[in-house]
């Protein structure tokens, strides 16, 4: 890295001047924490007592046999407290906030997972908490909103722009520029201005560190490929970090192909031709934007992947050819989810199901002597409204109609 905060030409810290000191302070605090081994130890202790780390690596025996190719292992981030890898980042930032002596946290959330994780962390650490969430995502992920509120957070639906993740990020920044002394913005993914990408990647590296050790133990060798879905990129960079120095391991980032890459209805930044370099939300990366630099309205069945930008770290790795990017369409994702539930008894989040879909497409190309890892970033329970809707499940509908009528009465 030439300039701190840059990954190749990607990254940076395009922040309003009013936050200059806040970022300076954050950079200093983060650097100090990173340099202090006791901080990481405190983090590991917290994650192993409050969450369930190390999370298991599960051998998907049935699907491996069914596909007849590589042996498939699943890294179980769904078993974290709050149900996703988001907890890794959030609890780490929580420790940092405590160190900085701040008393309030804010966050954006797309799928709601990061919001729930942040509200949880705030409850645990005794912080005030406000969560910004695009109005459309509030609709898609209502159960998460309910729990955030019950955890003591204030959830603010964001009605500007496309009413999704990127707008929630803007709104969180608007809060932060108003109230920065006591407030830390808990960025939920490995994006945004420096030092967020570095910080989030650091906390998420716990996934990769564990995964390397586990696969070596269980499969007796490194995996041929590692698959992770990519929204902002935090779960992907988390697991990929375990394998960056071993080029024989192919790293595959899977983006939301939505209705197909040709449909314009997707959120594929690095696997489609629809993105171009840009600067927004505080950093330089490949964005889905028009020729004028206005951000596009992206689409995905999964709220957590429905985002215009992508981690500058991943963009750099992509540019260097160190990570291959692919997209899985909504329908491929639903099929992969279905198969994973029925054959392994595991319910991946819709986001994570993208990684499963791509791995299933490719597993057959590999030999039964090969191992691959799918990073299961989260569990799918949270997606019940979306999944039941996608299945067009009649008894679910009937149930909701009945409940609705009961409440309307």
């Amino acid at each position: 890295m030439a300039t701190p905060g840059y990954y190749g030409k990607w990254g940076g810290a395009f922040i309003p001047e009013v936050l200059f000191e806040t970022f300076k302070e954050l950079n200093i605090a983060f650097a100090a924490a990173k340099a202090d081994p006791s901080f990481w130890q405190e983090y590991l202790d917290l994650m192993s007592t409050y969450s369930c780390r190390p999370t298991p690596l599960t051998y998907a025996e049935n699907i491996s046999k069914h596909l007849g190719g590589a042996q498939i292992y699943i890294k179980r981030e769904d078993l974290n407290h709050t149900g996703a890898h988001k907890a890794n980042n959030v609890m780490g930032q929580g420790l940092l906030v405590k160190r900085m002596g701040k008393k309030r946290v804010i966050a954006e959330t797309g799928a709601g997972q990061h919001g729930v994780a942040t509200a949880t962390m705030a409850a645990k650490f005794g912080f005030d908490c406000t969560i910004y969430m695009g109005e459309e995502d509030v609709m898609r992920q209502r159960p998460n909103v309910f729990w955030m509120e019950k955890l003591g957070a204030t959830v603010i639906p964001v009605t500007s722009g496309t009413k999704t993740l990127k707008d929630a990020i803007n709104e969180a920044f608007r809060d932060w520029v108003t109230d920065m002394e006591d407030t830390h913005y808990v960025m939920g993914t490995v994006c945004g201005p420096h030092p967020f990408p570095e910080m989030v990647a650091w906390f998420q590296s716990i996934v990769g560190t564990e995964a390397v050790e586990q696969i070596s133990k269980f499969a007796g060798k490194l995996p041929k490929r590692v698959y992770a879905c990519v929204g902002g990129g935090s779960n992907a960079i988390g697991i990929f970090q375990g394998f960056l120095d071993t080029p024989e391991v192919e790293l595959v980032g899977v983006e939301a192909g939505g209705l197909g890459l040709d449909s314009g209805q997707h959120a594929a930044r690095l696997s489609s031709k629809d993105s171009s370099p840009g600067v927004a939300q505080g950093y330089h990366t490949m964005f889905l934007q028009n020729d004028d630099g206005q951000m596009n309205d992206t689409y995905s069945v999964s709220a957590g992947l429905d985002y215009v930008g992508v981690s500058p770290i991943l963009t750099d790795l992509w540019e260097q050819g160190k990570v291959r990017f692919e997209a899985a369409t909504d329908s491929e994702v639903m099929a992969a989810l279905d198969m994973t539930m029925k054959m392994e008894g595991i319910i991946p989040a819709l986001e994570s199901s993208h990684a499963f879909a791509q791995a299933y497409k490719e597993a057959g190309e590999l030999s039964p002597d090969d191992a691959i890892i799918i990073n299961m970033s989260g569990r799918g329970d949270k997606d019940i409204f979306t999944v039941a809707h996608a299945y067009d499940d009649p008894s679910w509908k009937e149930f909701i109609i009945k409940k609705g009528a009961e409440y309307a009465a």
Partner: protein, 257 residues
């Protein structure tokens, strides 16, 4: 340099204790209305106008301007339309016009191309709230080359040291935001503000513009003697929304002396 000279010259006019800079979101509600509003502003003595090229992610703006950006984009306005309109305004009115926008607009347009065209049209400065000098080395170099003032920002959170650093890059005037937060909320002027503006004055020789939440004759009166330029942003957008473009003239007229 040209911008600073213009400001100093204007301030030397006997009746002008303070200048006014107003703000416009291009294309909101339409370029026609923008044209009319600018006419009213110019007719009533505004010295500088910042024309905001709408962006889909106006991170540093408050709800009124956010919505204005969004609705402008929904009308289908393009950056090219905005440039052409800027050119027209510079040609029509004998005041100072600046472009305000977020960095991505310039970046996608081609930074040097953006400077070259703006210079051609007669634009005097750029205000880019998400481009700190650390990220704007190319931008600042081109600003020098094309003699367009890069307007930098002082905030109440800026330390004296930071202010001096910013001063070393800035030109034209210094945009002092009156309080933390985004555009569009009222600012309370108090001794804390006085202290802050004193720090600003000490840190730079450039003229000081004060913006964020300036909306009344009282505000302008308060700023007179402390700052060189009062910036009226959201206030005129609200006015046009509620009372139409013709209300802008009397409003502007009433702000000073």
């Amino acid at each position: 340099m040209q911008l600073e000279q213009y400001i100093k010259a204007e301030l030397e006019k006997p009746e002008k204790d303070i200048l006014l800079m107003t703000h416009i979101v291009l294309g909101y509600p339409s370029l026609e209305v923008n044209r009319e509003v600018i006419q009213q502003m110019v007719d009533n003595g505004v010295e500088l106008i910042e024309m905001q090229i709408p962006f889909s992610e106006p991170m540093a703006d408050g709800p009124t301007i956010v919505q204005a950006n969004q609705e402008a984009l929904e009308t289908g306005i393009s950056v090219a339309d905005c440039m052409a309109f800027g050119k027209e305004m510079c040609a029509t009115h004998d005041i100072s016009f600046l472009f305000m926008t977020y960095y991505n607009i310039i970046y996608k347009y081609g930074v040097e191309n953006f400077f070259r065209k703006s210079k051609d049209y007669g634009i005097t400065g750029f205000i880019i709230p998400d481009l700190p000098p650390e990220e704007g080395q190319e931008f600042l170099g081109l600003a020098k080359k094309y003699e367009i003032s890069p307007i930098l920002i002082y905030a109440p959170t800026s330390t004296d040291e930071r202010m001096q650093t910013l001063d070393s890059y800035a030109d034209g005037f210094m945009y002092c935001i009156a309080r933390k937060g985004v555009t569009g909320q009222q600012t309370d002027f108090d001794t804390e503000f006085d202290h802050y503006i004193g720090r600003c004055r000490a840190a730079t020789n450039l003229p000081l513009a004060v913006g964020f939440g300036i909306s009344s004759r009282e505000d302008i009166t308060y700023l007179t003697g402390k700052a060189d330029i009062g910036v009226i942003g959201t206030a005129t957008i609200n006015l046009v929304n509620n009372e139409g473009a013709t209300a802008v003239g009397p409003f502007i007229k009433g702000l000073r002396g």
